[in-house]
């Protein structure tokens, strides 16, 4: 049996009310008032498709051995690099093995996530791989006062495919590929260019998705009524409902498109919706999931008993529950670099990234891997050739030690208004990890007023700096104080 063996999700905690966009921008383009309901998830300034993918991947790998992964497929249309495999950044952040693993980027299409899933299942089905982790993530910038600004949200999902402990058995796929271009993003362009919605609704989503679903049903001799959940993206709510009517799906069996709570997460959305469906699924449920974009992929799964033994995770439901309302529209515009604000001369420093150092220290910098002294057992980060414990000071007697999944406690902290920061004050502090080891980290996803000495922390892979001169995006890990609520 092959299929899904685990899943995870990540939706950033900031939520922007669409009404806030309307209040700020409807003067410019009043049509956006038509979709003023609900809210969309907005990535923090230090998040992008890669960082969200890492968060979803860690969520998915809870209780699983990351070292056993044989491949990582990353799907996104907003990858930071066009030549440097982006899946490799995610893989290094996961401290995945480097030998005998295959990583690949799937991009340039909204159905990249489902296509990556099909490719993974093809390999596993063929017996050439035991497992492949598929991670899909998008963080799409939009021009202000556009319908896309209203529709798009940010988020990621991860699905582990394999042949052991399958929680949802793969029941085949069917794809249509056609060059239907509802929108595109040309080379070097910052924003999507979209054609008239009426055409996209009627000839795109409204026609191609039903055609692909019907194609699947015909291929496998099944009826739409066999499925307990039918999952497909479409941010036009009327069209989303119309597709269900066309296919004869009972309303209760249509997976919510998360328009009201999250927005459309692009190439991640079919998997985001699939994870949301799996979170509610029971053994025996049959799920049909479709990805749309220059055609349509359809995949089917049947949930097994094993879903009950899956370890607790944040997922999409948990991410959506960790919600902080983003009440400052200008801040949102700055986070997405839609407006120019002065970072000050202090923020000008922009040394290049030593790729030699990044190579030597890739486990440390991307994987937050430190060491544990084999003589005295002290975990430490960063590592130096000599143990930090003054009662030990042994040289070169270390084994790797991962800090990425370690909880910690804040020992000391500040909120710094002098630091050049996109989101001042820059909050940072010294964190002591459970089990030993400590280091200083930038804090993220918190308000200064909530941080206290002794507050628990978890670690998050985050964007650290974007070198716009050379086009390099740098990542590291930040500490997330475990506080409730907050605002922006």
């Amino acid at each position: 049996m092959i299929g899904i063996t685990s899943y995870g999700g990540y939706i950033p905690r900031y939520r922007l009310s669409r009404m806030l966009i309307v209040q700020n921008m409807a003067w410019y383009f009043p049509v956006i008032m038509a979709v003023a309901g609900g809210e969309k998830a907005v990535a923090n300034w230090d998040e992008d498709s890669v960082s969200m993918a890492v968060a979803a991947a860690y969520d998915c790998m809870k209780g699983k051995d990351r070292k056993a992964l044989e491949g990582l497929y990353f799907a996104s249309t907003t990858m930071p690099f066009t030549d440097r495999i982006n899946a490799g950044i995610v893989a290094t952040a996961l401290n995945m093995r480097e030998a005998n693993a295959v990583n690949a980027d799937f991009s340039a299409c909204m159905k990249a996530g489902t296509t990556a899933a099909i490719s993974a299942l093809d390999a596993i089905g063929a017996g050439t791989r035991d497992n492949i982790l598929v991670v899909a993530s998008d963080q799409r910038r939009t021009k202000m006062a556009t319908m896309l600004e209203m529709f798009y949200g940010d988020g990621a999902a991860a699905v582990l495919f394999g042949s052991g402990d399958v929680i949802a058995e793969f029941k085949g796929s069917y794809s249509i590929n056609c060059d239907f271009v509802d929108h595109y993003k040309g080379h070097g362009k910052d924003f999507d260019y979209a054609f008239e919605e009426r055409w996209v609704r009627d000839v795109g989503y409204g026609k191609i998705i039903p055609e692909a679903v019907k194609g699947y049903l015909a291929k496998y001799g099944m009826k739409i009524g066999d499925f307990s959940k039918v999952i497909y993206p479409c941010y036009f709510s009327g069209t989303h409902a119309a597709i269900a009517r066309d296919l004869g799906i009972d309303k209760s069996k249509v997976q919510d498109n998360l328009h009201n709570t999250c927005g459309d997460t692009g190439s991640a959305h079919p998997l985001v919706l699939l994870v949301a469906a799996l979170e509610e699924a029971s053994p025996g449920d049959k799920l049909l999931v479709a990805g749309f974009g220059q055609g349509c992929d359809v995949l089917a799964f049947e949930v097994t008993d094993k879903i009950k033994s899956l370890k607790q995770r944040t997922g999409i439901k948990g991410s959506l529950a960790k919600r902080v309302e983003f009440t400052n529209f200008q801040k949102y515009a700055k986070f997405r670099n839609l407006i120019t604000a002065d970072l000050g001369i202090r923020g000008e420093a922009n040394p290049n990234t030593a790729l030699t150092v990044l190579w030597r220290k890739r486990k440390m910098l991307l994987g937050l891997v430190g060491v544990k002294c084999t003589k005295c057992g002290t975990p430490q980060f960063p590592s130096y050739p000599v143990c930090v414990n003054p009662d030990c000071w042994s040289a070169n007697s270390f084994e790797d030690y991962e800090f990425s999944d370690k909880a910690g406690k804040v020992l000391m902290f500040t909120g710094d208004m002098l630091s050049a920061s996109v989101d001042p004050p820059a909050v940072y502090g010294l964190v002591h990890f459970e089990g030993g080891g400590r280091s200083m980290f930038d804090f993220t996803d918190c308000d200064l007023s909530q941080v206290k000495v002794g507050v628990s922390t978890s670690m998050a892979f985050r964007l650290r700096q974007v070198d716009s001169v050379r086009g390099f995006t740098g990542y590291f890990w930040k500490a997330v104080p475990q506080t409730e609520g907050g605002g922006a």
Partner: protein, 402 residues
């Protein structure tokens, strides 16, 4: 274990430029200003100086690399000149080089000069240092600044002793008020206006919980010393000779940052001060130290340092500070007699020597309105880097034979 430096080297002369935003002057002007006062005070000719040490920190934006800038600015007679850099201890390190040079017998007379020209960068605060921290550190270190690095200590100090952050803020405010009052009496200080506790408490937020008036100024300046042996000083007819009693340095080894530390004290200062007292023959610093210039880059640094110098008991610095124990003329151990970094600002390479300059003036009875009655021993302290990773220098000077 060596026998220490006590009374082996005498200060022959000292000089100190006016500190401040010296928009019209470069590092060379500042060095010459300090040096002219110093050599006149020493009463020797420049050609009698046999070796020199220069302290500067941000060479990239200030003077450039090597000791050549000092050799050229002062037109030194092709002697050995060495540039030293050790964060905020750079000035004291220059002094240490010159003192050890004389103590070793290698030189009869040596010069230590420190300088920093900070106000050429175009923005407030110290120069941004992310690109100078090394090619690995710049890829992961938190986005921190000097005030933020020290501000953190207020949170861990408060947590350790169960203090409300506002109690600490009140004590920190007293520290700044005291230093401003002293600085107002000093014509060479940059900031010369007294301030009130409320002004300090209400100053704009720089790095929680520090406000603007918890932070020292940012200035340009230079200070220097000419040192020799006590015998040569006497042979030159010098009276009231000031000698070096102790010079200690202690550096973090990563313990604070990566192993085990309460965040409520400076490991290095605790160790260096103890060693300095031993070297100087001080057994009860609270009684025997007449005055201090400590590294008050931020008010919290000064507060915690009072404990690390073994003058306030652990957890009791806020009480001593609020009791006025460190105020001028209050009967305790006056601290920041000249106004401190708070009022002088912190041209890094110059600061350690600027502190020694005040102690030297006081010991010679030349401190004018700030003059203390019969001081015997003066202590200076620098804390470079950050509470979690730093360089600490301690110097004690006093009357020869005292």
């Amino acid at each position: 274990m060596g026998k220490g430096i006590r009374d082996k080297v005498a200060i022959l002369g000292m000089g100190c430029s006016k500190f401040g935003e010296r928009w019209e002057d470069g590092a060379d002007d500042l060095m010459v200003e300090a040096f002219q006062e110093c050599i006149q005070d020493a009463g020797i000719e420049k050609k009698e100086i046999q070796a020199a040490w220069l302290g500067s920190c941000f060479d990239e934006i200030s003077i450039g690399k090597s000791a050549v800038p000092a050799s050229v600015a002062l037109r030194l007679p092709n002697i050995a000149v060495t540039r030293v850099e050790n964060y905020c201890a750079s000035g004291t390190e220059a002094f240490r080089g010159a003192v050890y040079g004389v103590a070793s017998g290698a030189y009869d007379i040596a010069l230590a000069i420190g300088v920093e020209k900070l106000k050429d960068i175009g923005y407030g605060g110290l120069p941004e240092f992310s690109s100078a921290m090394g090619s690995l550190n710049q890829l992961w270190m938190a986005n921190f600044t000097a005030p933020g690095g020290f501000a953190m200590m207020a949170t861990s100090y408060a947590a350790k002793y169960g203090l409300d952050i506002n109690e600490i803020k009140r004590a920190m405010a007293h520290i700044s008020v005291k230093s401003h009052a002293n600085g107002a009496l000093n014509p060479k200080a940059h900031l010369r206006k007294p301030v009130t506790e409320d002004q300090v408490m209400c100053s704009p937020h720089v790095a929680y919980p520090l406000g603007l008036f918890d932070c020292c100024g940012v200035s340009d300046g230079s200070a220097c010393a000419i040192v020799t042996t006590p015998e040569i000083a006497k042979s030159l007819g010098k009276k009231d000779i000031v000698s070096v009693k102790a010079l200690q340095l202690s550096l973090s080894n990563g313990t604070e940052f990566a192993y085990d530390w309460d965040g409520a004290h400076f490991i290095t200062a605790t160790k260096a001060s103890k060693a300095a007292y031993e070297e100087a023959g001080v057994t009860n610093p609270r009684k025997e130290i007449s005055m201090m210039e400590v590294h008050d880059c931020f008010s919290i640094t000064e507060l915690v340092t009072m404990e690390d110098l073994h003058i306030s008991e652990r957890g009791k610095a806020t009480k001593d500070v609020l009791d006025g124990f460190y105020d001028l003329g209050a009967g305790g151990v006056p601290c920041q007699v000249d106004g401190g970094l708070k009022c002088f600002g912190h041209p890094i390479g110059a600061s350690g020597l600027r502190m020694l300059y005040e102690m030297y003036l006081q010991l010679q009875g030349r401190a004018e309105k700030r003059q203390l009655k019969d001081p015997r021993l003066g202590l200076t302290h620098n804390l470079g880097g950050f509470p979690f990773l730093n360089v600490c220098s301690i110097a004690i000077i006093g009357r020869l034979g005292a």
